[in-house]
Amino acid sequence: MKLTVNGVEHDVQAPQLASLLHVLREELDLTSPKAGCQQGGCGTCTVLVDGEPRRSCLLPLAAVEGAAITTVEGLGAADELSPMQAAFDEHYAAQCGFCTSGFLLAGTALLNGSPGATREEVLEALSGHVCRCTGYVKIVRAVEAALHGEVHPERVEASFEPEETDVLIPGSPA
């Protein structure tokens, strides 16, 4: 079966019912999608299927025939980060990094589809993605920075400024 991933067409051998996650990781050696739960619950396996964020652990290969798949390997290399990648780096949105691929792709789909998204729409787009490390504040901040075009692609310079505290959900205690 033919599968286009990050613009490259592959001839894959796996059976039709193999999960897309398994094919990407084990057959194509694209390891940015992670097997966090393999049951649709965590979002670490998220890839873009024709631009839409999808859980690759739940997608049988047969369901994506002819589709264009994007993984984080297809976003931007180290010296030419995409705005979403640069924002995640700048805002410390990746701590252990295991959830990061999924959040990056969910954020990228939002940036491409509705760059004017509100806070609520951002939270909606990221919901269902679990991060156990960051507490989400920095992830939301990074996605919004990318949406607002406030990304500084050069790496963060050392600075001694204290950070602003942020309230994610209106009405919650600061």
């Binding site: 976003l75 980060l81 780096d89």
Partner: protein
């Protein structure tokens, strides 16, 4: 110290956002085998029959390992500290928690490994299970651990104790006694990266082990102990952890991969499913804490009696260490001159519990701080003023007899008050950590004061 308080780029930031960080599961080695485990479906049972021959015979299966294949099957995480071993790597005569591993299979793919696990023939004789730590010392406690209901090796005692001052007198002299019971429950660490290891047999007879452990040298020691190998035959590769929070201190997968790799002579990976994480990975312990405080009407804590029951799960692992830390912190950030603390490590048929973010201390901090608020409520006093009054100060002696040189209770409480705009009277606002005197040195706190520092040896402020 220039980095403190600075915003510095993460050294691994670019690797994370480009998907290039190599977690164990991302290591690419040709021809790896995949592992699946037979785990106990019972909380507590005797194993009356175990026969893995049909699994071994299944095409595609390269190795099956049971307790018989482990050179040193029973190992204790605290053996290096002289504490005897109690936990088998793979269950032998009995299973003591649901999800306990009994046998493991390495096969060319996960489906075959799973199929092989189902071919293992096993019979159990179910036994009564025990979960309520409050009943550990009841006469009808069902025998679940060879050491009895509680961990027995705290020196001459079967519990960790702290004794200081004269607690009976404190309770006799008290105006009011305030009691509280605190029971924080188990928490699964739930890192996004499940437990994963990959063991690769090398041509020179050594093993390379890719590990998600939080404690490389510790895990190396555990694997070497089970294999009865010298450390120099093991090479550990790690340091990239997809979230741990304490749950990746216990060595969960490395030894099994090592044994399967040695038996099959092929690289072997074991990546737990999320279900296995929730079923069989260690958790933060549930605790049962009872506090009784002897108080004066104006808010001094004269004495504390405390009983802690710590749910260790089926085996000891690090629990005795956790309870010891817990004991040292049982007066919190406050100075209480008369204390009587007993802490028990109780065995149950839960999955063994372990470190999680402030091992043993988070639980006692929760209890102590909630107790402080309760005291304030009963005495109708201000909760922050009570904290400042009883706060640790320079020269105070802790329950385990450390004389404090640089306690931080006062500045922390004052900073917290500032941040929430909390009103405090001037005499509290101007408090410091300085050695007690005047009104802050009541009769009951005189004897506990440590000796004044006389030379400039780095002590004091």
């Amino acid at each position: 110290m220039k980095a403190v308080g600075a915003r510095l780029p993460r050294y691994d930031g670019v690797a994370h956002v480009t998907g290039r960080t190599t977690y164990v599961d991302d290591v690419r080695i040709r021809g790896i085998l995949w592992t699946k485990a037979l785990r106990s479906p019972h909380h507590h049972a005797a194993i009356t029959r175990l026969d893995a021959s049909k699994a071994e015979a299944l095409p595609g299966v390269h190795a099956v390992v049971t307790h018989e294949d482990v050179p040193k099957n029973v190992y204790g995480h605290l053996e290096a500290l002289g504490i005897p071993a109690d936990e088998p790597l793979l269950a032998e005569n009995d299973v003591r928690y649901k999800g306990q591993p009994i046998a493991v299979v390495a096969a060319g793919d996960e489906d075959t490994a799973r199929e092989a696990v189902e071919l293992i023939e096993i019979e159990y004789e179910e036994r009564p299970a025990f979960f309520d730590i409050r009943k550990a010392l009841d006469p009808d406690w069902p025998q679940i651990h060879q050491w009895g209901p509680v961990y027995p090796h705290f020196g001459p005692h079967n519990h960790r104790r702290v004794r200081k001052g004269n607690v009976d007198r404190a309770f006799d002299e008290a105006d009011v006694i305030v009691e509280g019971v605190y029971r924080p429950q188990a928490i699964e660490h739930c890192p996004l990266e499940p437990q994963t290891a990959l063991a690769v047999p090398e041509a020179d007879g050594r093993l390379t082990i890719y590990s998600c452990t939080q404690a490389m040298y510790f895990s190396m020691g555990v694997v070497a102990a089970h294999l009865e190998w010298p450390l120099n035959k093991l090479k550990f590769v790690g340091g990239t952890v997809g979230g741990g929070f304490g749950g990746k201190v216990d060595t969960a997968t490395e030894t099994i991969c090592a044994l399967l790799a040695l038996k099959s002579k092929q690289p072997v990976k074991w990546r737990w499913t999320r279900e296995e994480e929730f079923l069989a990975s260690s958790t933060r312990a549930p605790w049962h804490m009872e506090i009784a405080d002897a108080l004066t009407n104006d808010g001094w804590i004269l004495g504390r009696r405390m009983l802690t029951l710590h749910d260790s799960g089926a085996y000891a692992r690090f629990s005795p260490y956790g309870v010891t830390k817990h004991a040292f912190h049982h007066t919190g950030a406050y100075t209480i001159p008369n204390v009587h603390f007993d802490g028990y490590v109780v065995f149950t048929n839960r999955v063994p519990t372990t470190a999680m973010r402030g091992f043993g201390v988070t639980s006692v901090s929760f209890a102590v701080e909630t107790q402080m608020n309760r005291i304030a409520e009963v005495l109708d006093l201000d909760p922050l003023q009570i904290r400042l009054k009883n706060a640790n100060r320079i020269g105070d002696t802790t329950a385990n007899r450390i004389t404090l040189k640089d306690p931080s209770t006062v500045p922390v409480v004052l900073a917290a008050a500032d941040r929430i705009g909390y009103d405090l009277p001037a005499e509290y606002r101007s408090m410091t950590s300085d050695r007690r005197s005047g009104e802050l040195l009541p009769e009951h706190l005189v004897a506990q004061l440590g000796v004044e520092e006389t030379s400039g040896n780095g002590g004091g402020r």
